[in-house]
Subunit: 214 residues, 2 copies
Amino acid sequence: MAAPSSEAERQRDKERTRADILAVATREFADKGYTGARVDEIAARTSTTKRMIYYYFGGKEQLYIAVLEQAYSAIRASEQQLDVEHLDPEDALRQLAALTFDHHEANPDFIRLVSIENIHRAEHLSRSEILAGLADPALGGITRILERGRKAGLFREDVDALDVHMVISSFCVFRLANRHTFQAIFGRDMLDPGRREHYRAMLGTLLIEYLTAR
Amino acid sequence: MAAPSSEAERQRDKERTRADILAVATREFADKGYTGARVDEIAARTSTTKRMIYYYFGGKEQLYIAVLEQAYSAIRASEQQLDVEHLDPEDALRQLAALTFDHHEANPDFIRLVSIENIHRAEHLSRSEILAGLADPALGGITRILERGRKAGLFREDVDALDVHMVISSFCVFRLANRHTFQAIFGRDMLDPGRREHYRAMLGTLLIEYLTAR
DNA sequence: GGATTAATGTACGAACTAGTACGTTCACGG
DNA sequence: CCGTGAACGTACTAGTTCGTACATTAATCC
């Protein structure tokens, strides 16, 4: 019975096992934090065993770093698909902000991982090798829009792309990351679909009014 | 040798022991997170023993809740001291934003506790009894400023106090809570003293330009 | 000033958790 | 079709961590 080496369904599959572990680990770490996550729990939810986690990743910490790297890479990849060069600066920025808004809302696990990593003072991310490639995708688009806007005399000069990125991120990240204490204290769910458009538009206007002031 | 019951230095002091534990626990929880914090470590850093943690607080979780409650109470108390009724709406809002900015910067442990509590989906804060008193101090000032600004025809109508509070918090919280990954990725320290005034003024202008648009 | 209780210290245990030693099975090249 | 190594499973261990039983000392009340 010749081996069906033509992929599809093999009993032993390096890639699939690795991906399975990584997916389960992502949920577990995002859910419980690095310290709260349990290797045994991750193992139990995979279709393989704990032994394989150590076989493929080496240990809990390396697994966590692999999770972080995959999560960041996925987000940045989707950010790079943005094309707003054909729009005028104001609309371009509104588009970009709205897209980031959508991205964050669609990826709550990523936001949680970022929060968790910040609790750990980014000690794992700092050691990661993918670090170098993360800044550009996030800033490139903003930089070009800002340049065009300034050349047209529309935008103020005392703000750089990183500042703009920070405002966008603050707004989008806070809405997800802090929604639980916010909800507990103020009784408002920042993710309520009925308020979604309000916030999405608000961020764009906030940016534009600030950048075009005077 | 009659007892020096006139306070000052007693060997056994309910209040002092409790306060000591609470202070040490605040640092430990803010530093390591709820799961990462170690009861033994907290005990070791107090001038008393682990036994006392269980004697006064009952357990790790109750201690954590006590830490949360104290931290929130302290912050809200300082917020209530704000008095900007004598300023015109624009300056009043700028003042309020700047004060929040300063508060957050001065209390990094509080910000970390909030992040940590959000990772746990506010399950502890939700059960706390001080919850009811937290919303008002944070919103009262903004509500009054907004009202005055609207009556004067200065401010837009489609934004409420909670929205404004959210923008202020996003900005201030993000700057502290996410500074580590931000620094790792972009190489910029959002807490750099040289950029402090820039960000502090930026938040005020951001709000005012948005609220007074058109 | 003796009894009572509040406050404190010590030593220990039961449960959990990351990691590993060792054994097994499947795929694949020759 | 068989040897070899990659992929996988089981059972265990060493160390940690929350919590407590038990013993003790200081303050306070009558």
